[in-house]
């Protein structure tokens, strides 16, 4: 386990000793993490390792039993302003009775009409859905629906964008497209992005910084900075020796038997050459 020291940048999000207990069940244990501003951070871990619990506490939907989450220096109590979220299950997070533009505009209903229209137009264009404004979500493919969810998050002008397994429910090609979409948007808007995933490839491909979680009660097993050059793409980045090395390292961390109390690692997804060690 390496204790990671930050660079000069002030962390956007700081987790200090965050634990969450459900009855006798300790879901996450003393998590320390500094999520840097204007970067993409990824929390990767096996299924059931408390990733979603962690995200709920970061977003203020849940409170830690111990420790503290600070967003932009202030402790998180309730959902803070400046935060938006994209859920895994787009079909349940979008509102099927609203057309695409209404879904995107919904979180910013209270803004003046002109500004709202401008934000919606921008967000929809940003995710490549121009011309689809008057469709209903259910008239679109899964990938397009998730784009709507991303546009909805962008319309609220977040400084921190949380994504909970955002691409787990779409096919591989769509997933690759959406990963690129998120990286492009992040680079353009400079927002802080925190993705939770169980996909090792995805974590290395997206991240400036990876937080590897252990099995429950989860702790941060390691923090890895990924210095792969940007812009990245699916062919050249994924064949770079550095990518292969980090992927192998993360895989071995997640497979390490001593970090695993119950051997629940079977659910781990490593898309390619899982056992490969650099």
């Amino acid at each position: 386990m390496t204790e990671h020291v930050l660079g000069s940048e002030v962390p956007e999000l700081q987790l200090t000793g965050v634990s969450r207990r459900y009855g006798d069940n300790l879901a996450v244990r003393s998590i320390d993490a500094a999520i840097p501003a204007h970067k993409i951070s990824v929390i990767v871990g096996p299924s059931g390792c408390g990733k979603s619990t962690l995200l709920r506490m970061i977003s203020g939907l849940d409170t830690p039993t111990d420790g503290e989450v600070r967003f932009e220096g202030a402790p998180v109590r309730g959902v803070p302003e400046g935060l938006a979220m994209v859920f895994q299950d787009y079909s349940r997070s979008l509102y099927p009775w609203m057309r695409v533009d209404k879904n995107v505009a919904f979180p910013i209903r209270r803004l003046p009409a002109a500004e709202r229209a401008e934000r919606v137009r921008f967000a929809i264009e940003e995710v490549g859905l121009k011309g689809k404004e008057s469709l209903y979500p259910w008239q679109m493919s899964g990938g397009m629906q998730q784009r709507v969810a991303i546009a909805r998050a962008l319309a609220s002008h977040p400084r921190l964008l949380l994504m909970d397994e955002p691409f787990a429910s779409v096919d591989a090609q769509t997933r690759a497209d959406l990963e690129d979409l998120v990286m492009r948007i992040q680079a353009e808007l400079g927002i802080t992005v925190l993705v939770v995933t169980h996909d090792i490839d995805e974590s290395v491909y997206l991240a400036d910084r990876i937080f590897v979680l252990s099995t429950p009660p989860s702790v941060v097993a390691e923090v890895i900075d990924v210095d792969l050059p940007r812009p990245r793409d699916h062919v050249s980045t994924k064949t770079e020796p550095e990518f292969v090395r980090i992927r192998g390292h993360v895989t071995s961390l997640l497979r390490r038997p001593d970090a695993d109390a119950e051997g629940a690692h079977g659910s781990l997804v490593a898309s390619t050459a899982a056992g490969e060690i650099a």
């Binding site: 977003s59 939907l61 959902v79 302003e81 935060l83 938006a84 979220m85 859920f87 299950d89 079909s91 349940r92 997070s93 509102y95 099927p96 009775w97 919904f106 979180p107 209903r109 209270r110 689809k132 008057s134 469709l135 209903y136 259910w138 008239q139 679109m140 493919s141 899964g142 990938g143 397009m144 909805r152 609220s156 429910s169 779409v170 096919d171 769509t174």
Partner: protein
């Protein structure tokens, strides 16, 4: 739907949008197909009318069962007129049908308001729901026509006891469906609303009620049919007008033609109520018809 190609889905979507307004309407049918479908639907009603006609010729029943043409003739005579200033409605329609419909609709309106308001509250709050549970099951399982006397006693003999009896009897499907609908909105949609810091008012009117609307409307549809039944029952006693009153009166004076004309009127009312409801439902739930056809 995930594995389908994006362009394909988009094309389908575009085609749907081109037809606009009603997503999910099947494409145009040919005249012959339409006729065939109509024919299939008319088999059972046709057989029933034939049975009725046959029964009207039996010596034992002749006295009570008038033939369909006689009944329809009487219906036209009693309930229709050629006078535009009377809305083409006859005396019986003005004296008995309209008051009955007013009571049924007033009862329905009360039931919808109470059912949706109480149902929403119970759907949102588990505590309220637990507290109200015994009372609601008691109310639901009471055979409400038996309470007619109580309603007369409490509310007098005017329209109020009738309207309230109708409302009390038909509120349950709306209430239960609303509770169910509100609970079916789902954890993720509520979480999304929380994360985006949507004000409570918007959560109620833009998320909870629209999300529950398919079930609420299903409940209202059941209640609508019930309202006609209860309308008749409430008018069987202590009434001065209404279709139920007319049913009783015509039997008392052995006017079986008039009696059957009322039955025809009730059938027509049932049809009109249903068609009106279907039109409203289609408008309100266009999204839902499409959504369920596509995803489930």
């Amino acid at each position: 739907m995930n594995q389908g190609s994006v362009t394909e889905v988009a094309a389908v979507a575009d085609a749907r949008r081109a037809t606009r307004a009603r997503p999910g309407t099947p494409s145009r049918r040919t005249g012959a197909e339409l006729l065939a479908r109509l024919a299939v639907r008319l088999v059972v009603p046709g057989a029933l009318v034939a049975l009725w006609w046959w029964a009207s010729t039996l010596p034992d029943l002749q006295l009570y069962v008038v033939s369909p043409p006689t009944a329809i003739d009487r219906f036209i005579n009693d309930f229709l007129s050629s006078d535009p200033s009377r809305l083409f409605l006859g005396d019986a329609a003005h004296e008995d049908m309209l008051p009955s419909v007013r009571r049924a609709l007033a009862g329905l309106a009360v039931a919808v308001v109470v059912g949706v308001v109480v149902g929403t509250a119970l759907g949102i709050s588990r505590l309220l729901s637990a507290m109200a549970q015994p009372l609601i099951h008691l109310g639901r399982s009471l055979p409400s026509p038996a309470l007619l006397g109580v309603f007369f006693f409490v509310f007098g003999t005017g329209d109020e006891p009738k309207v309230l009896l109708i409302a009390f009897s038909i509120v349950w499907p709306i209430l239960f469906n609303t509770v169910d609908g509100v609970r079916s909105i789902g954890e993720v949609r509520s979480q999304a609303a929380q994360v985006f810091r949507i004000p409570d008012r918007d959560v109620l009117f833009r998320i909870i009620l629209p999300g529950a609307s398919p079930k609420i409307l299903a409940g209202i549809r059941t209640s609508l049919s019930l309202s006609l039944i209860l309308m008749i029952i409430s008018e069987l006693q202590k009434s001065e007008n209404g279709l139920g009153y007319r049913l009783v009166q015509s039997q008392r004076i052995f006017d079986y033609g008039g009696f059957w004309a009322v039955l025809v009127m009730l059938v027509v009312l049932g049809l009109v109520f249903n068609i009106a409801f279907t039109i409203v439902e289609r408008r309100l739930l266009a999204w839902h018809r499409g959504a369920t056809q596509q995803n489930d």
